[in-house]
Symmetry: C2
Subunit: 356 residues, 2 copies
């Protein structure tokens, strides 16, 4: 069956501030040594499985130029612009209608644009196996990540280790982000995976679930489908899309659906959730530092220092994140990276939009 991909690139994460900005979100940043941006790596990673003309990018109009610069091989008509952000369910529903309009039906891999995968070949094998399960009946497949530690920042997927289909386990439950105690129990039980937000299904399978579980959304999606490829397409999306509720695919569909399978992925997944990810994706030097740019470190350990055009000198610091940009410099302790959003709140309150 035809394989397509929908790469979701509408987010404007704040956790890589000051490098990431509203007009340059994380997926368009290069954080690895090879100089490629996260979205470029995402496309590169699936190209052995999916032709460029079958890759759809869902994003925001603001990022049109970034997408055409960074992904010149993706056909213009495959860039789906969301007039407003409505979380993942409407985005995926619209993507499914585009696929369905073009191919009648096809496999769809739904992928975030801002994650990193260490072992591309294993990742491709996993997606390939997921496709085989998704082709059967109306199965929905989610790629779970074998958890390393009791992370409380992710949702978890509970599966039945005895109910196998190919390499997939039957999913029993999606859980919200757990408390630490619960997360520890999940890990110990060996029946939980991290919910990575990567899905594989047929367009028809997911649209059928929209019809059952979100009939209002489904009705509006059908209107969009009728307009796809016509001169009305842009206007209709502009009109209909804002009417969608803002709801995630997990909450809107996955938690309420049957016939869901999960394949445990062990391909070095990283959601690159904050500057701390730099330590996992870049090599540290002998003092445990990640240093980028014109940086002098004296008695400095376990720190991440990302320079720009100016000299940065760190003296006697430890466990610090320093990020310099043209107009702003962040100095943040490693255990406070979650508070970077408070800087952004402060900037919003003060209407300092040039820094957002």
């Amino acid at each position: 069956m035809k394989k397509t991909a929908l790469i979701m690139a509408g987010g404007h994460g704040e956790r890589f501030w000051p490098r990431s900005r509203k007009n340059l979100p994380k997926q368009f940043l290069s954080l690895t040594d090879d100089g490629k941006t996260l979205i470029q790596l995402t496309v590169e990673r699936i190209s052995p499985l999916v032709e460029a003309e079958d890759i759809y990018i869902s994003t925001n109009k603001d990022y049109e130029d970034l997408i055409s610069e960074q992904l010149p091989n993706i056909p213009k008509e495959n860039i789906l612009f969301e007039p407003v952000g409505r979380n993942t369910a409407p985005c995926i529903g619209m993507g499914a209608e585009f696929v369905s309009k073009k191919y009648g039906d096809a496999l769809m891999m739904v992928l975030p644009s801002d994650h990193l995968i260490k072992y591309g070949k294993m990742y491709q094998n996993t997606l390939h196996d997921a496709c085989r399960i998704a082709e059967l009946d109306n199965n929905l497949v989610t790629i779970g990540i074998t958890p390393d530690f009791p992370e409380t920042g992710y949702g978890y997927i509970r599966f039945d280790p005895d109910e196998l289909l190919g390499r997939g386990f039957k999913v029993h439950e999606f859980t919200e982000k757990p408390k630490l105690e619960a997360a520890k129990e999940y890990i110990a039980s060996n029946q939980y995976l991290w919910n990575s937000g990567m899905f594989v299904w047929k367009a028809s399978s997911i649209l059928k679930r929209f019809e059952q579980l979100m009939p209002d959304v489904y009705e509006k999606l059908s209107i969009i489908k009728d307009a796809v490829g016509t001169s009305q397409q842009e206007d209709i999306i502009e009109k209909i899309f804002p009417e969608f509720p803002s709801i995630s695919i997990d909450y809107g569909i996955m938690e309420k659906s049957d016939n869901i399978y999960t394949i445990p992925g062990s391909f070095g997944w990283d959601d690159v959730g904050s500057w701390l990810a730099m330590e996992r994706i870049r090599k540290t030097n002998e003092y445990g530092n990640i240093v980028d740019g014109d940086v002098i470190t004296i008695a400095t350990e376990d720190s991440i220092v990302v320079g720009n055009n100016k000299l940065i000198a760190c003296v006697g610091v430890k466990d610090l994140v320093v990020v310099d940009t043209e107009d702003a410099t962040l100095i943040c302790s490693k255990d406070s990276t979650n508070d970077i959003k408070k800087v952004i709140e402060n900037l919003k309150v003060c209407n300092r939009n040039e820094y957002l």
Copy 2:
């Protein structure tokens, strides 16, 4: 008796890097709220005691422009340029010859240009009292600072509490920077003061000591004196000055001299030895931070953040010094400010003179 002052402004301290540079040393920086530079404050502080035309500045040719910008009222002929740095003894000797040439004899207050004094009136009173002692015989007077704590970074002056002349105590000994144990004993004994490097004497008194204790230097100083005010002045200084040994007035004269008195000064003296001084000379906010410029602090405590033209955001940091300038940013833990010089060594080794 005529009162004159010699302000020593030849140093290029490294401890205020990156704000201080070779071409902009600490004495020309403004570190207080009033926007005045340290040398401007030094001159302002003694103006009730000494006329502008009687104030001499000893400095380096490189700082000619800075001096005339910052101190437009000091006569050009009172700026004494040292062709090379030779520590304080030759500098003071030459200053004494200038004074002696102009006035025959006069009182000389020898003052560093890069210290701060909180209570100007008490400072002036102390200098006034020092002048009264210095006028008698050939007394040398040094202003001692009542020590607050067992500082190991300063030299100490041991005095005899029972041998008083006016408000001055007879000095028994100058000591090098002590170890902590010794410093604690000094403080407990109540017979020690910090050596502040401020002196008062008649030009004739100090020149007499040069004649006795450093006869070679004295001979060369006499050659300079003969040239002062002639068309040969600059050439002679250019030729003779480099021949002086590099030696401090403490080591060359004070430690070996008799008839030295010290007046304990309690006028809020601060040698502004490092960025940490900011906490003493500026008001901290409710979180213990000193913040200057465009700075956002989130969960940040007891830190000194000196911005420049760009936004600095500090998140979850404590006891940190952050100093931004046009071309370099320093991030230094408070207990490592002594290591800032290692950054400068690194820059020197790499021949990156633009940052020095």
